[in-house]
Symmetry: D2
Subunit: 352 residues, 4 copies
């Protein structure tokens, strides 16, 4: 049996390891073997690397980590009809049951029985990965795999930015990590009236400007609420897209969202938030939406549609690429905050 | 100049007084004189009576109080074309500017320059009242004025209940004061799958059942979250309509709202609420909407449409009626909690 | 191998035949064997019986006909997890591919590769039927199978009536065959302001009134447009729900739909329709929606929610029931027009 | 009394005339005097010039024509508070009643009592014009009046293009007259996936390409339906935006709109259209929307938001500018088809 390189969580505790393991060629009826062409690093991968409390409670080593990728279909399970060998694919990360009330209603993104690739099942920081056919998304753009590998987090950004209509509106993008940066770029691509980003890291402030932010507010040096009001004739922004998960940034957002405005929240907040419901939600007639995953598969259609529109600057969003072997460097860059999306290439200069 | 009875806040401090004052016949160009046929008591009137902190900061005595009514048009200002003498009318309580960004967008209910009848201008606890023509809603149903006088709070209930689609869905109505009771009745009228009411007062628990609640949970004797889950196959309710303004009731609602569910919030919360945004909003993909006033005038069309559908039990919702002269008794009944809507009749057995 | 009674289209040409054939116990991995407790007759079955042009081009005899049913799960294919033996079920009639763009977008009702039960595959006018597990809908109401068997056409009615919001609005239900009658009843259940039905058959006119129509217009004796305008203060109806497929009824509807109004169209029109797009759609700002099948499975959730609301009068909608053996009588009643829904019972007084 | 140049329809019959007439300084309470800085020519102005059947039945000479403009507020009526002297403004062309059911519902664009500037009241092909204050839209962009004068037709384009969501979708823009060209540009500005324009005039084909069309189909030389299907993997376009009013172009659109697709129709069709409702609307689950005017004032907010986004190419859309005195040349250019928007400047080199 053929072997491959894979980056795994070998045992409980911090860090990843590169190992040789069997290529997972034993496919279920509805599974597919994918040769990974590029794989990108998610904040979740950083949590698993660091072995924080959430990871310790969820991850069962040994596990091949990683879930964002672009790959080529190499081999098909017996009943697979939806893709064929040679197709270039990425994957929706949520493996859903298809039969619970949520899946049947068209809300598979909140399926009661979700498993997550690279968290609950072996992932894609490897040369090959086994994937459920129903999770695969075929590429039709012909873009470099380096850019296609970031479609899954781009889906989070799209879900967050486009849940409410932002065309011709003022929008605040709070937190410019890789997904927030994508958010800025999406706002630009769909004709937002004014894009106000909030970010503290200088590298990312600069990127946010290049990706379309009209204004970037650094809460370390400025009063966010005052500045947003100043930029919006005292009315506040029409839509807030929250990517930071930062308590004080969220509390500020409730103050500067316009009456009748809308807030789309993706960033995970470690703590509870104190909200003045009466003044900040009820009297203002505000709408709040919690974003989880990607709509399956409406969001993916939007992702592909935006890529094909030619309006996204993925070459600015993907700031670094390393061979998979240099995963420690890649993780370090990602953790530094001085990056957009960081991509790893598992099969550089290799034949299958 | 003719005089009339009026119930007023005469000076800073608790209580109302009945006085004789001039009928307000000096009409502006766009104003109308209305003979009040019935007027109902709002929770806001109770706050003003009690002279709580909010009232002390907002109300400038002397002021004729009251804002919910049904009356007959008696006299027209020079430019009024939208109603005619003899029309039976009620009024939207928000007097809006018509020129701010919110009014121009069709969101007059959050107009920046709103004045409220009976709060900022003389109200309708009187035999006659002067009203802006643009606020009047003509009756087309022929119902008893006693029932028509409650259309404004019915509008709050309609705005809260129908903002999200509740037909064929499970809905929790939290708090069965007069507006919550209307909420229960509206849920019944539009074909909700299951109506779960939450209330602690026995009188109102009984009324909620008569008005359509399939289940009423009393948080004093039961664990709300456990019971709602039991009633909904462990999934929670599709929609929460929050009328209570009660901190622990609201915190419970965040726990039993279904994933992908929706919350419509009208009840004013005196304090801040601690929300576990990650677990209760984001991971669940929940939507939250703050309800203020009535959509102008979409909500009023819905109110009139529902009345004309014959599906509402207004005769059960209006539990008490008194002559205006007995306003102290009426206020006491309202404050007791043992009532639905309490109506007062200013012109019983009198000729104009 | 056990045998059963089945009503089939034996060969090209008019008529059905009852035959003995094998119970279809050879199940695919994802299939289920269902004992049919009740099955109802659709207009499509009448077309197939009559062998009209559409049938001649689509149906490949021999074929067991019928697609509306309620049954009991008797046996499971190897991979079936979503239902268990003993479950009471009905079926969505569209067997969809799950992988085309439409299925992936949540629009499986317009799947490019749809097969229809009882049209393209053997149906349910039989004692037993083999069904794909993914098409089954479990009952949770405990209702008599006679009523549960009509859920599929009820789904058409729900899709048509609830696509646009009709609560508190005036609605015209055009054509009161069985599905139109359901439409009237749904409008009543969800609090329409005024329900105007259009129908020519006296039996169905009477039923429409009993099911909730405020007004029934018979185009044979009245000018529809004039009468609708009279019933709506000259403005026309907010929403038209078109079930008739009748050219002149549809042309009239374009005239009496209100400016800004909405039209939901289910009835199949044999011919082209001449529309005055400028005057009847553009200048009036009208919206038109073509209804096909049922949203999968949102519509089914609505169907079940409405049944559980207790607001539907299924006992009035199902007007006739016969043993399956009397299928000729049942078809004749259905063709007479003097019926609501006609049900057949395949397993009366029989043991499995 | 001061006099000014004005282009008028002097009497029944073809043509316009330039005359000297009084500046309309006698303002009503709610009116404003505007100095016209730029005014653009609409297709409606061409109809009035040509004196077609519609004009003959509607226009009552003498009338100052024209309704698209940008101007400066010079003088205010007694009750005007919404604008001040010196404001740069354009106008919504529909003068609405504010009290009919449509206005009260937020659908003023279909007001029952609409009067149109330059059609029913004196317009803006003049040095000065009297306008109702409520129709004025203040500029906040500081753009050249030449571009601001086209905001009203831009509003038609925005209403048509943004009624359905086109971001990340394929869209056909049928007819590339000035408004269709704006439509192409809007689709580009909001991130459409692929923009397919349909046009026969070479000048406009070229402009459509420059403004963002990925493909332009000329029905004179190509089979539209075949080509659209070829460009959309055989599925058709997600959204059709119809500006042509051309019968065969519309009939084709019904064929190439995707199942589940949406059609937004603005172009006025002189004749009735034959539609195969069953195959082209019902079985395909298509939605159709008739576009009239601009949503008041949501559409104007979108217009201003898009202008401020910097994503529109107004300098390409406005292809010609003439002094008002050269109105005959301007009309001729407009009628030639070889233009985008044609603008006239009434006050060039003049002092007030």
């Amino acid at each position: 049996m053929k072997q491959m390189n894979a980056v795994i969580k070998a045992e409980k505790g911090p860090g990843f390891q590169m190992v040789r393991k069997d290529v997972p060629e034993d496919l279920g009826r509805h599974e597919v073997l994918v040769k990974i062409l590029a794989t990108s690093i998610c904040g979740t991968d950083v949590h698993i690397y660091n072995w924080d409390q959430w990871s310790a409670s969820r991850i069962k080593p040994p596990l091949t980590v990683g879930h964002e990728f672009c790959g080529e279909v190499i081999k098909l399970g017996e009943d697979v009809r939806s893709v064929k060998v040679g197709d270039i694919v990425s994957a929706e990360t949520h493996i859903v049951c298809g039969v619970c009330e949520f899946c049947r209603e068209g809300n598979a993104h909140i399926c009661s029985n979700t498993k997550i690739i690279g968290v609950d099942t072996d992932g894609c920081f490897a040369e090959y990965a086994r994937m459920p056919a129903q999770n695969l998304i075929k590429d039709t753009s012909g873009l470099d795999p380096k850019y296609l590998s970031v479609q899954e987090p781009l889906g989070n950004a799209v879900h967050t930015m486009l849940h409410f209509d932002i065309t011709a509106k003022t929008v605040a993008v709070v937190g410019c990590g890789p997904i927030g940066l994508m958010g800025v770029n999406i706002a630009k691509a769909v004709g937002a009236k004014k894009i106000i980003a909030v970010e503290i890291n200088d590298y990312r402030i600069q990127l946010a400007k290049e990706l379309g932010a009209d204004v970037v507010i650094n809460p370390k040096t400025e009063d966010i609420v005052a500045r947003v009001l100043e930029e919006t004739s005292g009315l506040g922004v029409d839509v807030v897209a929250e990517f930071s998960g930062n308590k004080s940034a969220i509390e500020a957002a409730f103050k500067y969202v316009k009456a009748g405005g809308e807030m789309s929240m993706l960033g995970i907040v470690p703590d509870t938030i104190e909200i003045d419901l009466s003044n900040d939600v009820i009297f203002k007639g505000v709408t709040l939406y919690g974003v989880i995953g990607r709509k399956m598969f409406k969001t993916w259609n939007q992702v592909q549609g935006l890529i094909q529109s030619g309006k996204l600057d993925l070459e600015k969003i993907v700031t670094h690429a390393f061979p998979l072997e240099d995963f420690e460097t890649a993780m370090a860059v990602m953790k530094s905050g001085n990056s957009g999306k960081v991509v790893m290439i598992p099969n550089k200069n290799k034949e299958v």
